[in-house]
């Protein structure tokens, strides 16, 4: 039989073989009518929602539509002072004194309530932040509940966490969290602090305050003693006032390296303890013996998960030169299949950029990449007319010196670089002021072990990427910060050992 015979066999469907079919998935929208978002939120201080001293409120919008969702209070220095005072009172009078097993009960209760309200929380997270509903539904909210469950278990076992030491709580913790995983970051911060016996003033990011405020309602429902957790909203000035407050014993911050450095400067010389979880420019390293199709999935997940608004995003892809051709080809095809659009659609893979400001920053850096001479590939997907959107993008021909290879973009933009030997890969991967995470793709176990020893990164994923678990510590090297969140290690920043 010849090739031509194969091609001329009887066909079951009329039309030429190359007539590619487009299968439009009908919209499959998560309903929003079950979510109650109040028109206005006040500050959660001393177990009650109270009007801000400033008498000012600012809007929070849906970045996918630019529609206003609600407005939230702007806390000023007086409000911060009130919140810290309530936290101090609750610490002295209640939280430091009650039995650790009682603390655990409250934390378990919060965890269960998050599970019960997970659907509403997921929708609110997606509305306020722009992330796809499948991510808030399957990752953000379940992981947030899991963190509370995990640390609830530690509350009455601290002496086993730190054997042969006396374990005491610190006092009042000021916690400032970012906008990329709003509820999850609140959980990362609150759960270990509560388990270790501290009280808290938490400030969510100004673009994504809603789920933290819904968490405040959950905390009320859980009947946590008033003042143990206080949640105040506001922008940078509110955060600065919290950091500067003299009665705060501990600061925990997740956000940009720039702000992290400012915080570190401002509290130097004080007794305040500090943990910082800052930016990253993670290397994702693909060797020529890697499982290529799965590596491509890992690359996609590494950079386009949550629109690339991920501090540990695999934003620098290092590919061994012998497999550059197949990897780029597969990457191009795969990027094209990403479904970009309405974050409430259950089939959406990539949602909206969190804010106009962030979109501007992404655009500026992408333009710099084009100007510096890198070759750009962008998905040809249609983008909605309103809202903040950026098509999934990657650059090839990127030199180590380009801005897109050195600066954190915090968007759906990947820089592809190449290497020849493992030594070169390690050298290039470590050639950054950051050191939060890294990925290694190879079928060779011994190479994985060698790479993990040499990569200067807090988290190294092997043949996977962006995997999180409450039992696993997370945190950075170098300018990606210090201190660990998650796991046994995540308790250490919230205790005093003697």
């Amino acid at each position: 039989m010849t090739t031509s015979e194969i091609e001329t066999r009887e066909r079951l469907t009329p039309g030429p073989a190359s007539s590619a079919i487009v299968w439009e998935y009908s919209p499959s929208l998560e309903s929003t009518d079950h979510v109650k978002i109040a028109p206005r939120y006040n500050l959660f201080i001393g177990g009650k929602f109270v009007e801000p001293h400033s008498k000012k409120w600012f809007p929070t919008i849906n970045p996918a539509t630019e529609e206003r969702l609600s407005e939230v209070a702007e806390a000023d220095a007086v409000d911060v002072d009130r919140a810290v005072a309530e936290a101090r009172r609750a610490y002295d009078k209640v939280w430091r004194k009650i039995a650790p097993s009682e603390r655990a009960k409250y934390i378990f209760r919060i965890a269960r309530l998050i599970q019960e309200k997970s659907r509403a929380l997921a929708v609110a997270e997606t509305l306020d932040g722009g992330k796809p509903i499948k991510e808030s539904r399957d990752i953000d909210i379940p992981l947030a509940a899991a963190h509370f469950f995990y640390y609830a278990g530690w509350a009455d076992k601290l002496e086993y966490a730190f054997p042969n030491r006396n374990v005491a709580s610190i006092g009042v913790a000021g916690q400032i969290i970012p906008w990329n995983f709003p509820l999850l970051m609140a959980a990362w911060k609150l759960a270990p602090a509560l388990a270790a016996g501290n009280t808290i003033v938490l400030k969510p990011a100004e673009t994504t305050p809603l789920t933290a405020l819904m968490l405040a309602e959950i905390i009320q429902e859980a009947e946590l003693p008033p003042g143990v957790v206080n949640i105040i909203t506001g922008a940078g000035a509110t955060g600065a006032a919290l950091v500067a407050h003299e009665d705060v014993d501990k600061i925990a911050f997740t956000g940009s390296t720039e702000v992290g450095k400012r915080i570190q400067r401002s509290i130097s010389g004080t007794k305040k303890k500090l943990t910082l979880e800052l930016g990253g420019k993670a290397p994702n390293i693909v060797f020529d013996d890697a499982p290529l199709d799965q590596a491509v999935e890992g690359i996609i997940n590494g950079i386009y998960f949550n629109q690339g608004h991920v501090c540990c995003a695999g934003s620098r892809l290092f590919v061994q030169e012998s497999v550059v051709e197949p990897i780029i080809r597969k990457l191009r095809e795969r990027v094209q299949t990403l479904r970009v659009g309405n974050p409430l659609d259950k089939n959406t893979d990539v949602g909206a950029i969190n804010s106009r400001e962030q979109l501007e920053r992404i655009r500026e850096l992408v333009e710099s990449g084009v100007e510096e001479g890198a070759e750009i590939f962008q998905s040809s997907c249609a983008l909605p007319a309103r809202g903040f959107w950026f098509a999934p993008t990657f650059f090839t021909g990127v030199a180590q010196s380009y801005r897109i290879a050195t600066e954190e973009i915090f968007g759906p933009v990947l820089s592809v670089l190449t290497f020849r030997t493992p030594e070169e890969a390690i050298e290039k991967a470590n050639n950054t002021p950051y050191g939060l995470s890294a990925g290694v793709w190879t079928e060779k176990g011994s190479r994985i072990l060698k790479m993990t020893q040499k990569l200067r990164a807090g988290v190294v994923w092997a043949n996977t990427y962006n995997k999180f678990d409450p039992a696993s510590p997370f945190g950075g090297f170098k300018e990606s910060g210090f201190g660990r969140e998650g796991g046994l290690h995540g308790l250490a920043p919230y205790v005093v050992l003697s």
Binding site: R11, L12, I21, S26, A290
Partner: protein, 318 residues
Amino acid sequence: MSESLITHSPAYVPALFRRSLADALEMAHGVDAVAAEERAAALAKRSLKKESKVWGLKLAISMMDLTTLEGKDTPGKVHALCQKAMRPDPSDPTLPHVGAVCVYPTMVPFVRQALKGSGVHIASVATGFPSGQTFTSIKVQETRETVAAGADEIDMVIDRGAFLSGNYQKVFDEIAEIKEACGPAHLKVILETGELANYDQVRRASLIAMFAGADFIKTSTGKVTVNATLPVTLVMLEAIRDFLHTTGKKIGMKPAGGIATAKLALSYLVMLYETLGGEWMTPDLFRFGASSLLNDVLMQLRKERTGAYQSGDYFTID
């Protein structure tokens, strides 16, 4: 290969479907099981509604190889199945006929008679189905006779014994020989992935089958404990994609066994669409090997049409 060699020996002219075993093995890199299963699970979470669901289900009917492979098969049973194949739901004339009816070789003449002029293909399992544990000469003979009896498509099984003992050459040669015996009939090569132990082997077997001349690669016989799964199908689709890139030839895919619900069938189609694209959304390049899937699909379609689910009693068994 030098020009002179080709001139002197026409046998060396490489046909597109006749590459060597070495070509296949060169592309058989590893598959990461955890990540492949994760990707398959993610695709299965796609939510298909309304028009897109109806369209997908109708396509699924046209891709179905309606199958009966029992020792107790009779001309009567096969005749009934053929009626169902041609008119899946007499109450809805807009539905397409199924892709093919798949039977044992001795049943082929009866199927041929029943399906005459309908456009439904006749598929038959040959080569010592389902174990494949017989002599190559007998497999070849069985294939020839089955094609002569009227089969358009031959579903062969690979020699898993040879494959698992590392005798890839034997597997390759046997497929090539059966392909030749098929003549104008289509060759679907069943890997019996449930017996291949891991995804690395599935990928390797897929590539060997394609390089040896398969028109389709197929997961399972339906006669072992583990039949088609989404991750196995994904690994095979990815091998088809790599083969297309290397040779320019499009190979079909047929998951078989254990696909009993419309929802699962849609997940397979989503996986196909998002891995190989719209060009593969045709019964020429994708089939479901199934016996009980059709009625669930019909039930879902009637629900979309009338707004209410109806009892199984309203759908004929065959």
